[in-house]
């Protein structure tokens, strides 16, 4: 390091950062970080659009260390970026879009617990190193290797706080149900990541309902805003039920699948209602993957067009609240898979 260069300022001036200082990547730190994986550093994971610079195990490790990860977090970062580059996830579109969604990583399985990914009180917010830095490593790659910088490679209007980091797990301690990963057919012992392109969570507070019908009506209402792309396109959505809300449903005999099915059924609005504001266009409705009649004012348009677009999980601390993350219009399909540790 020459005396004349302050490395923190250097990285910020270069725009090799998300606006916060980064841990300076040196060869010595990189060597330590690479001890977190058995993969060959030269192994190519893929190219990050739109700039299409290569993500190799080495460049992923560089960004993990810049983000503040411990070496043991590296498998989750590698697993996440590997999934996110699948074609159906459409990273290219999200990097360029006017909208403000981010790839939310939901990490299930014993390794998430071992490295301290947090899914309980305050899981979408600060204070948890694994959540903060794994998601940040992904974002730094999307900026430095993908060029998805607002006003340059990205046309985003507002962006979203989820673009600083977006990595959580489930509250398996207090959840009455199987995990999201198990609901997709994985084993409890599998280490699985699910990624969905979503907006920041909108909180549905309900400290009144003590039975599922009323409770789920309120949550469904949070899923159907006129300006939400879920009402105007096929789109993913994440509903993270607080364990208290999930327990109300469970105690009434509802399984996770029951709640999932109920929300898919009742979350929606009639055409008459949708015409009054938001993104309604007749031709958009005709492009849905389900049959609709946009000329029938009484026709019910569901927020969830295909059942596997709703990622229902249990997270957050004990309390009467559920988080709803709306999706994106541009044809991204949630992805999931096991990752190597």
């Amino acid at each position: 390091m020459t005396e004349a260069v302050d490395e923190f300022e250097f990285f910020l001036n270069k725009q090799w950062s998300d606006g916060f200082p980064v841990v300076t990547p040196t060869e010595a730190r990189l060597e330590t970080m690479l001890k977190g994986t058995r993969c060959d550093p030269d192994e190519v994971i893929g190219s990050i659009p739109p700039a299409m610079e290569k993500a190799t195990v080495r460049t992923v490790a560089i960004h993990a260390l810049m983000a503040g990860c411990k070496p043991e977090y590296l498998p989750a970062v590698l697993g996440g970026i590997n999934l996110m580059l699948r074609e159906e996830f459409n990273m290219n579109g999200v990097q360029g879009t006017m909208h403000g969604v981010a790839p939310l990583m939901i990490v299930n399985g014993p390794y998430a617990k071992k490295i301290g990914i947090h899914g309980e009180n305050g899981c979408f917010g600060p204070s948890f190193r694994a959540n903060a830095t794994i998601g940040r490593a992904i974002r730094l790659m999307m900026l430095n290797l993908g060029g998805g910088i607002a006003g340059i490679g990205s046309a985003t209007i507002f962006s979203t706080p989820l673009r600083y980091t977006a990595c959580i797990t489930e509250n398996t301690t207090q959840s009455p149900w199987e995990t999201l990963a198990v609901s997709k057919g994985y084993l409890d012992t599998d280490n699985v990541i699910t990624c969905a392109m979503v907006e920041s969570p909108r909180l549905c507070f309900d400290d009144v309902s003590q039975e599922p019908d009323r409770l789920l009506n309120g949550i469904a209402d949070s899923m159907v805003a006129m300006g939400s792309w879920n009402m105007h396109a096929r789109s993913d959505m994440v509903v993270a039920m607080g364990p208290q809300h999930a327990t109300i449903c469970s105690k009434a005999g509802m399984s996770r699948a029951d709640v999932h099915a109920r929300l898919c059924k009742i979350a929606g609005r009639k055409v008459r209602d949708l015409k009054n504001g938001g993104n309604w266009r007749r031709e958009r409705a005709l492009g849905f993957p389900i049959k609709v009649n946009p000329d029938d004012d009484d026709f019910f348009i569901p927020a969830i067009k295909e059942a596997d677009d709703l990622q229902l999980m249990v997270a957050g601390g004990w309390g009467p609240c559920t988080a709803v993350c709306h999706g994106w219009s541009g044809g991204s399909k949630a992805v999931h898979g096991k990752y190597e540790i």
């Binding site: 250097f10 090799w16 060869e27 459409n90 290219n92």
Partner: protein
Amino acid sequence: MANDLGFIDPTAGGGRAMVALAPRPMDLAGKVVGLLDNTKEQGTLILETIGKVLQEKYGVAKVILRAKEHYSKPATDSLIDEMSKEVQVAIAAVGG
């Protein structure tokens, strides 16, 4: 990858690839113009209007309208190849 400052360039030295711009035509008379619709609503309307004006006012010989598969995805290589063979000038539109 390490530089003489003692730390690593996280961009992997990217951004050095240069793509030369195609030669600019001096006028459009007699040219074939390709219009690429991104498939967002009203993109076709905008392009058809432009195409008509180009023919009426600038003597464009022919206008060819093509569309991407989806507005959020890049045009395929085959579409780009096809258009590059057929047209001398291409215009892309973003509807919405």
